[in-house]
């Protein structure tokens, strides 16, 4: 491969292949190579992970597919919380436009060079990034007047929340739990 240390060893899990790209700044170059020289012409999805409490905090994951050879490839790259920015791949696959907008909307990671980086699901001016781990399930009130559903959702009756790895069955029992518990 032409990228040397930039690309990690292959990681294979359940028959799917993942490569780690150590420098997020180079992700667009790697993607362009994957598309032009390796024929991964179809971008299935871009997703993001919040490794809350760890550094670097964000992981951005690219799922690629080659329609001619039928293989799939996953690229992962880490982004630190201070930076929260990496190059956009919209010029490589047009479909990345909305995926990147969604990640920006939900996680607050910015994509440099994106032609139209606006919120896509939440409304313009919404102050939080709701898919971050430190955002409570019930939601937070936002001070935009005149917009519906800005109060935390009342949790009476659900959704019921389980504590993974709780000490016994009683603690693991799904029940209404408030964010501060």
């Amino acid at each position: 491969m032409k990228f040397g240390d930039l690309i990690s060893e292959l990681v294979e899990f359940r028959g799917e292949i993942t490569l780690n790209v150590s420098d997020a700044e180079k992700i667009a170059e790697v993607c362009r190579y994957a598309k032009n020289d390796l024929d991964f012409n179809y971008l299935v999805d871009i997703s993001s992970l919040d490794n809350y409490g760890e550094d670097p905090r964000w992981t951005v994951v690219y799922h690629l597919r080659g329609m001619t050879h039928g293989h799939e490839l996953r690229l992962k790259t880490d982004v630190s919380e201070e930076k929260s920015e990496l190059p956009s791949v919209v010029t490589i696959w047009n479909t990345a436009n909305w995926h990147e907008r969604e990640i920006y909307d939900m996680m607050g990671i910015r994509f440099r060079g994106h032609p139209d980086l606006r919120r896509i699901l939440m409304w313009e001016g919404y102050p939080y990034f709701p898919l971050r781990k430190d955002f409570p399930l019930a939601g937070k009130s936002s001070d935009l007047p005149g917009v519906a559903f800005t109060q935390p959702a009342p949790l009476e009756g659900g959704p019921f929340v389980t504590v993974a790895g709780g000490e016994d069955a009683i603690h693991r029992e799904p029940r209404v739990r408030n964010p501060d518990e």
């Binding site: 359940r14 179809y42 939900m106 699901l121 399930l137 389980t162």
Partner: protein, 329 residues
């Protein structure tokens, strides 16, 4: 009866290029129009900010957040099994297919997808194909209604009602089925279900034929759809289209063939693809896919291990950790 093969398309490339060139000629003052968020023809809450030049839309900015329910956030706070009912609501036209897809994903994560009982695989395939028919029927029906052919919409709802009945006797719910479990399904097929399903297969084909009689060769229908919204092969891949929309753009890609899961490799079916990638092609692809789904259903009814009443009376599982619940009837 017109089939996909009979329809001649002389030199599609030149014709679509001409259609695109005609669009370029349009000149005039642009107007911005707000469509939605609850326009009766949008079928789901979507707002479109349209820029119009006469009757031609030159720009559209979709606002898609109205159905955002934060399923990922909800899922974070749950166990894998608890999330199954939420998958019913992801695409409310095909809840059974969502159940199946979600269960398969979790099983792959756990590494148990190879141990799925063969009977369960057939049941799941039948669920997925019923869901496909239900979803395509509504897709075509609503499509025809928007173009002005109201009859089709009423016709297809009779057939969809039968699919709801099948789902009800399968899972107890017509809409929010939650039928799959991690490693299996909620319960075995109820008595007589396969006969009911066979009857449905026999009845849905004439209904599809009738829809085709109403639309496929209909002059108004063809004139309105042909060369409309042509999506080229490269664009379809570049914009990440999937399913029948991708196949409508002349791309032979179906995960059931390319990466077979469940028992799809044991079943015979064809994958229809479009010629040009216009609205008419996408309509034809959907019609043919429904016929293929019926073909798959009929094979499943023939081949399902254990037969109609699962004579072994034992769910076949290879590990002790997996179990299936059966109804007491």
């Amino acid at each position: 009866m017109a089939t996909v093969q009979d329809i001649q398309i002389p030199d599609p490339a030149a014709r679509t290029a001409q259609a695109a060139a005609e669009l370029q000629d349009v000149q005039g003052e642009k107007m911005v129009l707000n469509m939605g968020p609850s326009h009766p023809a949008t079928h789901g809450v979507l707002r479109l900010v349209l820029e119009l030049d006469g009757e031609v839309i030159t720009r559209a900015d979709p606002d898609v957040g109205y159905l955002h329910r934060g399923d990922e956030k909800i899922a974070e706070n749950m166990t894998y099994t608890q999330f199954i009912p939420y998958t019913d609501r992801l695409d409310y036209l095909a809840p059974l297919a969502n159940n199946v897809a979600y269960a398969l994903a979790v099983e792959k994560l756990l590494g148990i997808e190879k141990q799925l009982p063969p009977r369960c695989q057939y049941i799941r395939v039948m669920c997925a194909e019923l869901a496909r028919i239900s979803s395509h029927l509504l897709g075509v029906g609503a499509f025809a209604m928007d173009v002005g052919a109201m009859t089709v919409f009423l016709l297809i709802f009779t057939e969809r009602e039968k699919i709801y009945n099948l789902a009800e006797s399968l899972s107890g719910a017509r809409f929010t089925t939650s039928y799959t479990r991690i490693g299996g399904v909620m319960r075995d097929l109820p008595p007589g279900w396969l006969d009911q399903c066979r009857k449905f297969c026999d009845e849905v084909i004439p209904a599809i034929d009738e829809v085709e009689t109403l639309l496929t060769r209909n002059r108004i229908w063809v004139d309105r759809l042909r060369d409309l919204a042509v999506i080229s092969k490269t664009d379809a891949i570049d914009y990440g289209l999937s399913g029948p929309n991708l196949r409508g753009s002349n791309i032979d890609w179906d995960l059931r063939k390319k990466q077979p899961y469940l028992c799809y490799s044991d079943l015979e079916f064809d994958v229809p693809i479009g010629a040009v990638g216009d609205c008419y092609d996408r309509y034809l692809v959907r019609m043919e896919e429904m016929r293929q789904s019926v073909r798959i259903l009929q094979q499943c009814i023939q081949k399902i291990p254990g037969g109609a009443d699962n004579k072994t009376k034992e769910p076949t599982c290879r590990t002790e950790k997996l179990y299936c619940r059966r109804s007491r009837t």
